[in-house]
């Protein structure tokens, strides 16, 4: 395998803006692109969060009295689309993947830096397009699932803009996926074996395989849907002989793996954070790798569990029940291994560690309700109810978003060279954790007792629980304030971090903070034991073969 240790594909220096302006440029530096993804994603998170706030305000009363019904459906569609395609997917993949993967494989940059920059710069315009559709003629109002015939019969302009926007974001995601696969497999530093890579590389490899296999299916489906809307074809339009169930199969063939595209990288990030802050090796490296790949394979054959009430033959329901339930096995292995990583450690209770542990607790609950939902007889009662809303928010917020915060606390010193305030970090965690659970735990009860999802009005008996949930949402919104204060305060006045404030062994810490353009001054270090913590080992990075 040939590896270039020279900065690859860098344009002449005079073309690269310096200072903060480089973050607004078509930069080819993977570290700049990573932070572009992160900040851009966070801005969209604030927008998506405001929309969630609007939903929770509407639901404090059983009547539809806060906003017009059409607007409510637009708000819930935008909320889902923004949070998935503009916040979680770009941040857990694009932001941390771009920043960390070249370090982890010992490369100076990603395999295709220009493709990388294109992938990022597709995101802001498609996001802005999606949001401005609201002000032009009304945004899409058929939910993020855009099931026909509803998506064919609602106003066409918003729906078409939604499709265009998701197509561009999907393209960005595919470009990123190709780039990660090429970088991890082909740009590894000489001497570095696959089974010596930090776990996040494996998570990104698995995720990128899912992205490359499944996102094109979504793209094809949405193109057919757009034909149905603008050219009045009948692929999915029953009045023209089309079939609405086929759309659901194609849509979920992407959108179930999309869940793993959102959580597998988070699994990888947690596997980096826990060993460093508990000063212990990652427990069960090999089983962790196999469980990631197990999740990838199983994740591709479970999509129809979203369609148990749609009209599927009994044999199909059974197959997808068993396949889905079995995902719990590799996922469970990862969680037991993380707890075993904590066991016997010297745990620092800082922001990064607390958010990671919050993730474990939240995700276990989301996983348990997930196994329950996989059972057909259980699902026919709670499908499309607030039980499902609670379940997937435990996965994507309690899971992925908690990990994003944990990762920001962990890598902020590397990104900026400044330390965050850990007391503010702990405060941020406590408010977020309480607010999140107060918001979403009661929704399990709502779903079981008869409240469907995506409604602006509901049976008055559910009012009190909805108000409790809204108080939780308010706490979640407020918890953003200490976080933002911490970020700005620390960038301006934070303590100097030094190269390696956590005394970590992975390669991104073996260079200055923030790192130079070429990542390391000299040759890239060879880290063959990224988790070599523990009493018997020295804390010095091991750069030679044992």
């Amino acid at each position: 395998m040939t590896i270039s240790l020279k900065p690859n594909n860098s344009p002449p220096e005079r073309l690269q803006p310096t200072g903060w302006l480089k973050y607004l440029s078509f930069s080819l530096d993977h570290k700049v692109i990573g932070l572009q993804y992160l900040v851009c994603g966070f801005l969209f998170y604030l927008i998506g969060g405001s929309l969630a706030g609007a939903i929770r305000v509407e639901l404090t009363s059983p009547l539809s009295d806060f906003m017009p019904r059409e607007v409510y459906n637009q708000v819930l569609t935008l909320h889902g689309t923004i949070m998935i395609f503009l916040w979680i997917v770009p941040v857990v993949n694009g932001a941390f993947g771009n920043y960390l993967i070249p370090f982890y494989v010992g490369a100076r940059d990603m395999a295709f830096p220009r493709l990388n920059a294109v992938a990022f710069w597709l995101i802001p315009p498609s996001g802005l397009m999606l949001i401005t559709s609201y002000f032009i003629n009304g945004a899409a109002q058929s939910g993020w699932t855009a099931y026909p015939p509803l998506s064919i019969t609602t106003p066409a302009a918003g729906q078409i803009i939604w499709i265009l926007s998701v197509l561009l974001l999907g393209g960005s995601s595919i470009f990123g996926g190709i780039n990660f696969i090429a970088t991890i497999l082909k740009l590894r530093r000489p001497g570095l074996k696959l089974m010596q890579l930090p776990m996040y590389c494996w998570a990104m490899l698995g995720t990128s395989i899912l992205v490359v296999l499944s996102t094109p299916v979504l793209a094809g489906t949405l193109i057919l849907l757009s034909f149905d809307i603008v050219a009045h074809t009948g692929f999915f339009n029953p009045s023209l002989g089309g079939n609405v169930i086929v759309y659901q199969h194609l849509f979920w063939f992407y959108s179930h793996p999309a869940v793993y595209i959102m959580v597998l990288p988070a699994f990888g990030l947690v596997s980096e954070i826990l060993p460093i802050h508990s000063r212990k090796p990652l427990f069960g490296y090999t089983t962790m790798v196999f469980s990631i790949m197990g999740i990838v394979v199983l994740g591709l054959v479970v999509w129809a569990h979203h369609m148990f009430t749609s009209g599927t033959p009994p044999w199909m329901r059974l197959f997808f029940t068993i396949a889905t339930a079995f995902i719990a096995v590799p996922t469970g292995i990862k969680f037991f291994n993380w707890v075993a990583t904590l066991w016997g450690g010297k745990i620092s209770l800082n922001g990064a560690m607390l958010f990671s542990c919050g993730f474990i607790i939240n995700f276990v609950l989301g996983g348990i309700t997930g196994v329950a939902l996989a059972q057909v007889p259980f699902d026919v009662h709670v499908h499309d109810t607030y039980f499902v809303v609670a379940h997937f928010h435990y996965i994507v917020y309690g899971g992925s978003v908690f990990v994003i915060f944990s990762s920001i606390y962990h890598w902020f010193p590397k990104f900026t060279g400044k330390m965050l305030n850990e007391n503010l970090g702990r405060f941020h965690f406590i408010i977020t954790f309480i607010g999140f659970n107060l918001c979403f735990a009661p929704q399990h009860w709502l779903g079981l007792n008869g409240m469907p999802r995506r409604v602006a009005e509901y049976d008055p008996q559910f009012q009190l629980i909805n108000q409790i949930s809204s108080v939780g949402a308010l706490l979640m919104a407020l918890s953003t304030l200490p976080f933002l204060w911490n970020i700005f305060q620390s960038i301006l006045y934070g303590d100097e971090a030094g190269d390696n404030p956590w005394n970590a062994l992975t390669p991104e810490w073996l260079t200055s903070s923030p790192p130079p353009v070429e990542n390391w001054e000299g040759e890239a270090p060879l880290v063959i034991e990224p988790y070599g913590y523990g009493e018997k080992n020295s804390n010095e990075p091991q750069e030679v073969n044992k």
Binding site: S142, S310, L318, V329, P377, G534, E535
Partner: protein
């Protein structure tokens, strides 16, 4: 020392198990049960709830215990123990969840069968499809096993047409059209459903049953009410601006009251 830790592990597992069962039997989160398959559903729910409680409380306790027990004390330096893995443990926590998941899968298959999910789809009085070529995709509860033998011949056929934003029920016997569903207690009802515009879903939480109502694709849902009363029918699939308002009622009556209602409202003499 190993003996002591074994005793502690066993005791805490025991407390956890008993606690999980206790919670599942004492925390009631389900609405009233009002159909033949609702108690079957509740049985599955209870088993899942027990397993879920044990797992969730166990994992949470382990995480919190680790954070407290193994926290870095002030002034402490150095690393934790050098423990990179343990094959026995890995096999243990691969095998146990696999067995639990397999058990849950087989058990829910059994529940599904008892709810009638594996029964052939039938709608008319004689247990035959109106037309063999008609493509009908069923929902669960297409004739509970317990009820299938005895009551199939006397199942009550009703047609449901869903539209934005209402459920319209049609009784072939008597040619009645109504916005509220009237059914007698203890008799199997066979709903044949089709939508006029977008996808809707017919859901009665107290029956623990839901089936999408799809345009261009008839679906069938069979159920047997067991409790007199007035229960909500809820649309559970986003169907447009008034989706939240698309609600109706199912009124479960004694057979005589139902017969009276049928007689009073029918357009032709029965």
């Amino acid at each position: 020392m190993p003996k002591l830790s074994a005793i502690i592990t066993l005791t805490s597992s025991l407390i956890l198990g008993v606690g999980g069962v206790w919670i599942a039997y004492n925390v009631d989160m389900l609405p009233a049960s009002a159909s033949i398959n609702a108690p079957v559903y509740d049985e599955l729910y209870r088993v899942l709830f027990i397993i879920g409680c044990i797992l969730f409380i166990g994992m949470t306790a382990l995480v919190i215990y680790s954070l407290i027990q193994f926290r870095r004390r002030p002034g402490e330096t150095g690393d934790g123990i050098d423990l990179e893995g343990n094959i026995t443990l890995e096999i243990f926590w691969t095998a146990v969840p696999a067995i639990v998941v397999l058990f849950v899968g087989l058990y829910s298959y059994d529940i599904y069968d008892r709810m009638g999910g594996m029964q052939p789809l039938m709608h008319d009085h004689n247990g035959h499809m109106e037309s063999q070529n008609e493509r009908v995709w069923g929902g669960i509860g297409s004739g509970p096993v317990e009820a299938a033998s005895s009551s199939n011949s006397s199942s009550l056929p009703i047609e449901l047409t869903a539209m934005q934003f209402a459920f319209i029920f049609h009784y072939p016997k008597g040619d009645i059209i109504t916005g509220e569903l009237h059914v007698p207690i203890g008799r199997e009802v066979s709903l044949k459903m089709e939508s006029k515009d977008v996808i809707h879903a017919f859901w009665v939480p107290q029956f623990r049953l839901k089936q999408d109502v799809i345009p261009g694709q008839p679906t069938i849902l069979n159920f047997t009410p067991t409790k007199k009363g007035n229960f909500p029918i809820v649309c559970a699939e986003l169907c447009g601006p008034y989706h939240g308002g698309m609600r109706s009622n199912v009124i479960v009556d004694e057979q005589e009251d139902f017969d009276n209602w049928l007689r009073e409202n029918s357009k032709e003499s029965i």
